[in-house]
Point group: C2
Chain length 222, copies 2
DNA sequence: ATCATTCTGTGTATAAATTACACAGAAAAA
DNA sequence: TTTTTCTGTGTAATTTATACACAGAATGAT
């Protein structure tokens, strides 16, 4: 029986079906010093030794891709369960110079200060990079990052997405700065507040942020 | 060396890394009798014998996913190269009752009348279904179809997408009916024409469609 | 050939959404 | 206490989306 004649999902009954390594790669975005950052890891082995990469790793037996993402990021940051969203699947045969690997990419939103990052396994360094100081990444990760950022921006325009990018109490100015940082454009303060508030997903608390002029009130998610 | 310690894409140097069957599944949409149709195949073997499914099949060695889609659909319809777009990746461990299969889904837009469909391999029947007469699909293909349709609708609202759904000459009414069929809502004729024409991607030809009252002019893509 | 029918093709008025914009008040810093 | 800097708010102008009706062209019926 040739593989060519297989019907959908018929590989279950086939002996000569092709199997392939699947990896997850993750654009982990954080908001730090009023700037959108991306978590990169420095690879310590060939190929692409000393290149910076998106964190990722192979899917293991019995895992869903989502579980792989959680495992990989938990190893790296200690984050237990990290909300993430699928971006795309990459299958060019030569994207890994040695072995065939199909990767599924994700993005995730975290608060950097909550999670100290620790180099591990084949990683010699870990760093939060600003989007304007990015090094050339290894493999095809430049493209993965680009696509991940576009996906995040697209989602931002539709719903309100901020994962764990902010603390659970935040000012509207902080939220606006987050938006500006992701979209890479400046927004009008009054229009932004109007738009966000009429989404009806935030509510003001009776606290104010201290240490900042104007005494802005803190909001939380409903 | 345990798999757990693998860095990103490090499976190249690993011996015990897990490999998995990857399949593509395709929502093939066509526009027929003024209605959006989806191409389904009837499976003739267990599991899910006699269930209708999205056409699909396993990725083969040396193929990109895109090439797999083209091969699978070429087998089924004779279409040489079919434009398609990635929708999502599905990795639940039990989505195939017998073997682990990770599927990547796509949608494609074709003109049914151009391509007679022929049952083959593990397929006992092939049929274009209207969206309002869908059978319960096998595996998790109900979900895949739902997601594919949502993706198509989302794309339609942003750009003008019509792949090969229409002939190369078409009237604006035909295009509008296509839109209405995909979005499952009725549109105002004047507003639709205004919107489409100011996209500046169509141009009128000097031909008119015959056999239809009113003598509508034929347009083509710029 | 004429008439009735049905579809095409077009513009304007209204409503809704987006954008532009300025000043008074609160907290911090000097 | 004064100055500085940030917060918080409303309205007018613009743009975009929506609602809506009638004359002309081709077909089909007689």
């Amino acid at each position: 029986m040739s593989v060519e004649k297989l019907g959908p999902l018929d590989t279950a009954v086939s002996v000569d079906s092709y199997e392939c390594t699947i990896a997850v790669e993750c654009c982990v975005f954080g908001f730090q010093e009023n700037e959108l950052k991306i978590l990169l890891v420095k690879r310590s082995i060939e190929p692409f030794k000393n290149y910076w990469l998106l964190p990722g790793g192979a899917m293991m037996e019995g895992e869903t891709l989502s579980q792989s993402v959680n495992r990989v990021l938990n190893d790296l940051t200690g984050i237990e369960k990290i909300t993430h969203e699928q971006v795309a699947c990459y299958s060019e045969v030569d994207r890994h110079p040695i072995k065939r690997v199909v990767s599924v990419s994700f993005y995730a939103l975290v608060k950097p200060e909550n999670y100290p990052v620790i180099p591990k396994s084949y990683i010699s360094d870990v760093k939060w990079y600003g989007l304007d100081e990015l090094p050339k990444l290894g493999f095809d990760h430049d493209r993965l990052l680009h696509d991940g950022l576009e996906k995040l921006r697209g989602n931002l325009r539709e719903h309100l997405v901020f994962g764990e990018l902010l603390s659970d109490r935040f000012t509207l100015t902080e939220l606006q700065e987050l938006y500006e940082s992701i979209l890479n454009e400046t927004l009008d303060r009054r229009n932004f507040r109007k738009k966000i508030l009429q989404m009806n997903i935030l509510e003001p608390t009776d606290e104010k942020k201290t240490g900042v002029k104007g005494g802005p009130v803190l909001y939380k998610r409903k």
